[in-house]
Symmetry: C2
Subunit: 242 residues, 2 copies
DNA sequence: AAAATAGTGTCTATGAGACACTATAGT
DNA sequence: ACTATAGTGTCTCATAGACACTATTTT
């Protein structure tokens, strides 16, 4: 950062955007909220909601604006993911995008999906464990959608990040309604990790984590013993490092 | 990303830079390679090596160029850290920076430090565990240096990332020469984590990890039983998820 | 009562911490 | 021989998986 601003403005510099991989849980599977592009490039393809960063707007502010304007959402969990800056990633010119991911309970999307060309698309993760790589988004018939730009990679990076994080950070709760059972939470973890989880030790681990606050209420209208409903307790006791 | 480029160029857009937190291990402590700023703003303060991203250059390419031009380094371990975009972070105007961190063995810096105003500064991490926050850089007398921009936060984020990563990813090796003993590696981990580590289980864990290749050679010129020298074996067998 | 899931108690396997003991270099 | 660190073997403790058993709701 040696040159001053007057020097800089003589040269063209990259455009800066934010894109949001908005994930939720639907029918026990990860879904992404995508929108259908009308204009070129990638007309007809699906893309993440995104937008250019204004000159007087922080990156999180830009994300909040995009979520409000394009999805009608507010107050959702958002975290920075990665910045994608390959020279050829946008055929219109040089656009570097700071990708964020957002997690919401599917119920919060009811209003958003009614508005415009937003679609909830099931994700098909073609790699195991924490390996990584691009991810497919499927339409209602289970056929892979064409994804604009490098958005398949951004979605893949999101899943990879979630898989690495869910075991030690309280992110699973963001995909659930305020009250949920232990089985609900287990199914979130299974959907994210893409593999079955031991039920017994999951129960013990989560109950011991201090992240669950009992509500005293039970799940209603089930044809068997009802499960206890919990609430997410922010600020679990800091787990010291071994 | 709805508007096309001709629309965009009518509006001023943020400048884009990369900054590199280059860390190494020296005297059993984490050090950062900083350079002294001559010009305003923050004249006289220490800053991370960095530079603006050219229009036809990817982000990793920009980092490689910065490391070469400003530090005389090449072939070092580099990873993207986080993107910092607060509106007021650069008094000259709107500059968003994609921060990277680099890890090098201290021996690789001999040439770099001779060139120009680069200084190796000991880091003082004022927070425990993986808590996070800004970090201080100390001069040769142990006094805190003034750090330019938000570079104290970038350095803090780097330490936080390393602490979270060193237990399951092979990053410690990047701070060591090609051949090293188990005690060398343990001291790297202790410097990064900022707390003592159990020697016995560290040995067992690392030997079982498949990341160490025995060289058959021994550390020479020590006044006690010499330790075996190991080499880092890339691509340890993938550890399956539980 | 039957079906189905919730929740408890206990045994076992694995990995980390602790520590005693042996090994091998320089002085 | 002495000192200092390298390296081995074993005991204990904490946690995860496995599984048997009990509990509680609707039909």
């Amino acid at each position: 950062m040696e040159a001053d601003e007057t020097d800089l403005d003589r040269h063209p510099h990259p455009h800066l955007a934010v894109d949001v991989a908005l994930l939720t849980l639907h029918e026990r599977a990860l879904h992404a909220l995508l929108l259908r592009r009308d204009a070129a490039p990638f007309a007809g393809a699906a893309s993440l909601p995104g937008g250019f960063v204004h000159i007087d707007e922080s990156l999180p502010d830009a994300v909040v604006r995009v979520l409000r304007e394009k999805c009608g959402l507010h107050g959702v969990f958002v975290e920075q993911l990665f910045t994608f800056g390959d020279v050829g990633r946008d055929p219109r010119g040089r656009v570097v995008t700071v990708a964020y991911y957002a997690l919401v309970p599917v119920a919060a999307l009811a209003a958003a999906r009614a508005t415009g060309e937003l679609t909830l698309c099931r994700l098909d993760v073609p790699w195991p464990q924490t390996q990584g790589g691009p991810v497919r988004a499927l339409d209602a018939n289970g056929k892979p959608l064409r994804l604009a730009f490098d958005h398949d990679v951004i979605l893949g990076t999101t899943v990879q990040r979630l898989r690495g994080k869910i075991d030690y950070a309280p992110v699973g709760f963001e995909l659930l309604p305020p009250q949920f059972t232990l089985l609900d939470l287990l199914e979130v973890h299974q959907a994210v990790l893409g593999c079955p989880i031991n039920k017994d030790s999951f129960r013990r681990r989560l109950l011991a984590s201090g992240l669950l606050a009992p509500t005293g209420r039970l799940r209603a209208n089930v044809a068997h013993r009802p499960a206890a409903l919990f609430r997410f307790r922010r600020k679990g006791r800091g787990k010291g490092h071994a």
